[in-house]
Structure formats: C-alpha cells, structure tokens
C-alpha cells in the first residue's frame, strides 16, 4: 500500500468535519472519493497534504507516518496535491508555474519532465510565456495538473479536476487522466462528477457527512442502487 489512512479525524477550529475516515491506495492504483457538496472531500485532501491539521488518526505514506507534517514536507516525500480549482499562480507565467512544481525537487527539471508535460498538454507549450491569469478555465486546470506532476510524485491527489468546466473540457481532462493512469501513476481523485470518476477509477469510496459510507470496486459502486439514485440520478 502506498498510502494508508486510518481513523482520521480533522476539522476547522473546534468544528469536526472528518470522522474516523479510513481508506488506502496501492501503488499504481487510481482511487476515487466521491460525495456530495460539503461532505468533507476537500478537507480530507487538505488534511493529508498538511494544509489542515489532523486531530487524530494516522496517515502512513510509503510505510512512514506523515500525519501532522507541513505541506512543504509532504511534497518532498512525493505527495502532490492539485487543489480545487487548480489555483495556478496568476501572476506567474505558465512556464514559471510549471517550474514551481519542481521547487521541492529541482534536479527533476533535468529529466525532461517539462517536455513530457508539453507532450501531454500541448496547449501549455503554446501558452508557456503567458501569465496564468490569462488562461481559460480548462487551461488553468491542465496547468495545475501538470504543475503537480512536474515533481514526479509517488502519489498525486486531485480535487475535482472537472469543477466548473464545460462538458467538452471535462471529456478532455478525463482523457488526460486516463492517459496518466495507463502510464502507471498512482492517483487519488476526489470528484462530485460521479459518473466520470467511477468510469476511470479502479476503486472508490463514498464520503458523506465526513464519514466513509461505502467502498468497493468502481464498477460495483456504479451499479449499486444507492449510488445510482443519489449520485448518478437514475
């Protein structure tokens, strides 16, 4: 197992959000966590990456306990996080945004990673000297994913990569995510877009009100009555 989260509790100030959340992701696997608005999906990823402090529970990453580490330490361990909305640095160029992805691991720039990213996302090469604030929503999301990949992480966590995108762009983004999966990358994907997420992932967990309520292979979840009624709308 690459990451093993056990009975994680977390929240903001005195407000608890996550209650005894446990899940795991194996090397090379793509796991999705789905759930409604406000379920705590983003809080979960923020807690794992260190942006939010956990209250209790453990996060084992590559066999090492990392609960409570700061975000800058987490990325050095090989844990990349593409936050909700992508959040590229608006006043930096596309190229500088990508290079910031290598900040924790500067040697990686010599391995041809930028060329790889430009092959995966050709639009970024065309826009490389543009400020990120001038990009479209889809381009921003692609830039954020590429920036997350630049450090060659062992695990990449993505928070709703389809958020706010037109259907055509969602297709495009998921095409890329599928490519990444085929390349063997380990991915933890948080989504509200249940059908896309369950189609691409190997396994899934359902997070509702800060608790894991279901788990299983993605295709089984996709055909379960609860998921079909509550998330897929039929």
């Amino acid at each position: 197992m690459l990451i093993d989260v056990h009975e994680l509790n977390s929240g903001y100030g005195k407000v608890p959000i996550l209650h005894n959340v446990s899940f795991n992701v194996s090397e090379g696997e793509m796991v999705t966590i789905i759930g409604p608005n406000g379920a705590g999906k983003s809080t979960l990823l923020k807690t794992i990456s260190g942006l939010v402090r956990s209250k209790s529970g453990s996060v084992a990453f590559g066999g090492q306990e990392i609960a409570g580490i700061t975000p800058d330490q987490a990325v050095r361990k090989g844990l990349a996080f593409v936050p909700e909305g992508g959040r590229p640095f608006p006043n930096m160029t596309v190229m500088d945004n990508l290079k910031m992805g290598a900040y924790s691991n500067q040697e990686v720039l010599k391995t041809g990673i930028l060329e790889e990213m430009f092959t995966l996302f050709p639009v970024l090469e065309r826009r490389k000297n543009q400020y990120a604030r001038t990009l479209s929503g889809g381009e921003r999301q692609m830039l954020a994913i590429a920036r997350g990949l630049v450090s060659r992480p062992r695990l990449i966590m993505m928070d709703e990569p389809s958020l706010g995108l037109a259907p055509k762009l969602v297709d495009e983004i998921y095409e890329k995510i599928r490519t990444l999966k085929v390349s063997g990358l380990t991915v933890l994907l948080v989504e509200q877009n249940t059908s896309y997420a369950l189609e691409v992932a190997d396994r899934g967990y359902v997070l509702e009100n800060g608790r894991i309520t279901m788990e299983g292979p993605a295709n089984e979840l996709a055909t379960s009555d609860h998921i079909r009624r509550a998330y897929l709308g039929f």
């Binding site: 800058d72 959040r87 640095f89 608006p90 900040y103 450090s151």
Partner: protein, 287 residues
C-alpha cells in the same frame, strides 16, 4: 521660473529614483507577506546612522558604506522577522500594527541613545561637486545615488524572476497555501523577504548619506515617502514603482522650491491622499 522648474524636475528625478529603491523594500514585504511594516522608514534612518558610523570609523565615502551596512541590515531584518514578525502572522491585524509601530519607537529611541539627538553627516566624498549642463546643475552624489538605485532595482527584478528564491517569493505572494504545496517553507521565504527589504534600506541609506544628514526622527519622512510611492505605484510593477518614485521626488522638490522647504512632506502627503481618492489601487497596480 522655468529654469527653477526644470532644475526641480532634474533634482526630483534623482531623489525619486532613490525613493523608489526604498519603497521597493516596503513593496516586496507588503506584496509577499501582506505585512504592513510601519517601521520601514526607521530602517532607512537606522541604515543612515550605521552608514555614518562606518564612514566615520574607516574614513570611507558614504556610498561605500553599504558594503558593511547591507549585511548588517540583512541580519537585523532576519532577527526582526524571527523574533517579532513571524509571531504576528496568524494574529489579528492590530497585533501586527502594534508590533511594527512599537519597533518604530524602539528604533528611534535606540538611535537617540546611541547617536544622540543632533543630526549627523559624513564629510568625506570623492563624488563631491556638480555636473553642469547649461544653466542646470546635477549634484554628482545624487546622480550616483540614482544610478546605483536603478542598478539595485534591476538586480531585484532579476532575482525575483530568475532565481528559485525569487520565484518562491512571487508564488507565496500569489497563493501562500499553494506555494507551500510546491515545497515553499514560508517562514524561510518570509524571513528572506523581510531581510532583503531591510538590506535595500541600507543601500539607500548609504546613498542618501552622501548628500544628506540623518536624525532620529528621519524615519517619519522616509516612511511617508515610501508609503506614498507604493500607493501611487500599486503592487507588482517595478517600472511603475520607479515612475511613482520620480513623481513623488519631483512633487517634493517643487514644494521645496516654490512653496517652502517645510512644505515638502505636505506635498507628498497631498499626492498620497489624491491617489486614495482617485485610484486606490495605484497608477500601475494590477487587478
């Protein structure tokens, strides 16, 4: 009349470029850390006194003193950051205000104790004299000050755009959480930012001492000047900062020439208020 005006523009431009250098320190501290350093002007005052002491001690020209005062102010900036500023980051704004205003008072008192109340000036200067162009004259030391300031502003631009530390500073300025997700340790990046801001006042202090004197209350003037330049420029544009510095420098010089030397800060303050009314994000600021 026209001649006086032209002369004021020339002098004001030289002064304004030095003001831009001072404001640059304030600007990166505010832009990157979102910290309002009310003591910034007093860093200039302290730098000028240190310049005086170093210049007197070694019989050096003022413009050379930054060789020693820049490292001193850099370290002073680091210490100030870790002892004071770092503790206020997650606190309410008023705490920050109290800390930097307190620092201002502390520095003034320290200057009074160490160098006493009378103004101090350095005499040695190999760049004395004027450059005459027709009816106009440029104080050589001011010209040197302006040129050196431009070089340092360019150096900071290079640093911010081309180095890892500079990029980390810009990233932290844009989105601190995401910067930390990239591996930026913000304590370290902020410490560097604050120290560079302080070190820049040392450069400016040395340049100013080649034609000005310093006194313990000098920080008021430089604080106001740099706030005014920053308000005029907005955040994020170095050319804008230079132009704003020049506008402020010229306004100050005009007030000295045409109204009264005591009205110099009044003119600066008037510009500040005008900008607040007409264009709160500055003339060149982004967003």
């Amino acid at each position: 009349m026209i001649e006086t005006a032209t002369q004021s523009v020339i002098t004001g431009t030289m002064m304004g470029i030095i003001y831009a250098l001072i404001a640059l320190g304030l600007s990166i501290i505010f832009g990157v850390m979102n910290v309002v350093n009310f003591a910034h002007g007093d860093f200039v005052m302290l730098a000028m006194y240190l310049s005086f002491t170093v210049g007197t001690l070694f019989a050096w020209d003022a413009v050379i003193t930054p060789v020693i005062t820049v490292p001193l102010l850099f370290v002073f900036g680091l210490i100030t950051y870790y002892l004071l500023i770092d503790r206020t980051l997650r606190q309410m704004y008023v705490v920050q205000l109290a800390v930097t205003v307190g620092l201002q008072i502390l520095m003034r008192s320290a200057a009074l104790i160490i160098w006493q109340a009378q103004p101090r000036a350095l005499q040695y200067s190999f760049i004395q004299g004027n450059i005459e162009i027709g009816p106009y004259s440029i104080l050589t030391s001011r010209l040197v000050g302006a040129v050196v300031s431009l070089i340092f502003i360019g150096g900071i631009a290079y640093f911010l755009n081309k180095t890892w530390s500079g990029k980390a500073m810009r990233a932290a300025s844009d989105d601190l959480d995401v910067a930390s997700l990239m591996g930026v340790n913000y304590h370290r990046t902020y410490a560097l930012t604050f120290a560079i801001g302080a070190a820049l006042t040392a450069v400016a202090g040395g340049l100013l001492m080649s034609f000005q004197q310093t006194d313990p209350q000098g920080g008021v003037r430089f604080g106001l000047l740099s706030w005014c330049v920053l308000a005029l420029a907005g955040l994020g544009s170095l050319p804008g900062l230079i132009v704003s510095g020049i506008i402020v420098g010229i306004a100050e010089t005009f007030a000295i020439s045409f109204i009264d030397p005591r009205a110099r800060l009044l003119a600066v303050y008037a510009i500040f208020i005008l900008v607040l009314w007409l264009r709160p994000r500055g003339l060149f600021g982004r967003k």
